[in-house]
Subunit: 225 residues, 2 copies
């Protein structure tokens, strides 16, 4: 079998494995059947299964733990720099354009979150507000908490795509936000609370507006650097 | 050296190679210096360069042609299913939510294209309109031309992020558009022309509205299936 045919087969088998995961609702951390069982189920050879698993590991869908088996990855299939943003040379323009995309998406998403958030999600947002404030007051980097906050809002909106997309946009933007700027830090603490409060009250317009103000305040920090 | 240390080093070297590509403005199809030269420039061993190149090949940044060398990939670092959408089991909800993201982004992007498109880009849009119509009249699948049309508008907007993102959203949505529906096909031909015409006239509001109508017409097709 030629290299490209073999590549085509492992791509096909990897699709079958993805369908198996989706159909059976496997979650990050769940274990897959072993190579022997998968080969039987998908009616292909074990070497094809091995190739397909390798492909899915490289795409951060699966993770192999020696001796323990093959598991659905916590990274949910999101690869390192999936949009190829590291290839863009003008990092300042990139940061500005990433903010533009966030400004187009997130206010609407915050409004949807006000309509669709579960009670547990509102509670989680309140905890993330408190944790972000603690992290900032301790003088520690708060980017991770910031990403969790915005991603939790995206999840609460119940849109399936935006929670996958936001962490990518936020990570690529981060280098341009001056994290030592204290007015930005105070703004973050206050506005995260304001957004959370609007979502808790189910006030879609207020959630939209608070998110919008938060993002354009952040954009101004980038543009004036 | 342990496996994780070695992984860390090839990750670091791959970052250096990315910086080299960005700094020198290498474009898809351009050749990289050979392994020996890269090792010298980056002051690491050739085996580290080899590992880093492998990593960047798996991320669709580079492509190795046996005997010819290592080149910047035409795929521009965009990996297969980079948002992990194939892991989402409810494909109907997924298609709806992808359309929602497109509706939030693309009308504004079409307005920006009306302001920023170069003359050559307007010409390219006109060609893509003609090619899409030919493809449809020939009864052939026009998804590829459709993606090229929307991506060309995104490029014309001069936003750096949206052209990387749109093909991913469009490919994932495609399976839900009933391509045999003739009213949808006629709508595509007419509205693509209308959007192009508005961009040619530099009429941002008309480009915005035509794109908006195009996308909500498409969304209705998905929702009623």
């Amino acid at each position: 079998m030629g290299a490209s045919q073999s590549h085509g087969l492992s791509e096909k088998v990897s699709q079958d494995i993805l369908e198996y995961i989706a159909r059976n609702g496997l979650q990050p951390g769940d274990r897959l059947p072993n190579e022997y069982e998968l080969a039987g189920m998908l009616q292909v050879g074990r070497s094809s299964v091995r190739e397909a698993v390798k492909l899915l590991v490289s795409r951060n869908v699966l993770v192999v733990r020696q001796g323990a088996g093959t598991f659905v990855s916590q990274k949910r299939g999101i690869t390192e720099d999936p949009l190829g943003l590291s290839l863009i040379p003008d990092k300042h323009r990139l940061a500005r354009d990433l903010m533009e995309v966030r400004i187009l998406l997130e206010p609407q998403i915050a409004a949807a979150a006000a309509q669709n958030a579960a009670a547990g999600e509102v509670e989680q947002l309140e905890q993330l507000c408190a944790q972000t404030e603690q992290t900032i007051r301790a003088g520690e980097p708060h980017l991770q908490k910031d990403i969790e906050f915005h991603t939790c809002i995206a999840r609460s909106s119940k849109n399936l795509v935006v929670p996958q997309l936001l962490p990518i946009l936020q990570k690529a933007i981060e280098v341009f936000i001056d994290v030592t700027n204290s007015s930005l830090l105070e703004e973050t603490i206050a506005t995260h609370r304001e957004i959370t409060e609007a979502i808790r009250r189910r006030d879609a317009a207020a959630a939209h507006d608070a998110m919008y103000l938060h993002l354009i305040y952040n954009r101004r920090q980038i543009l004036t650097r």
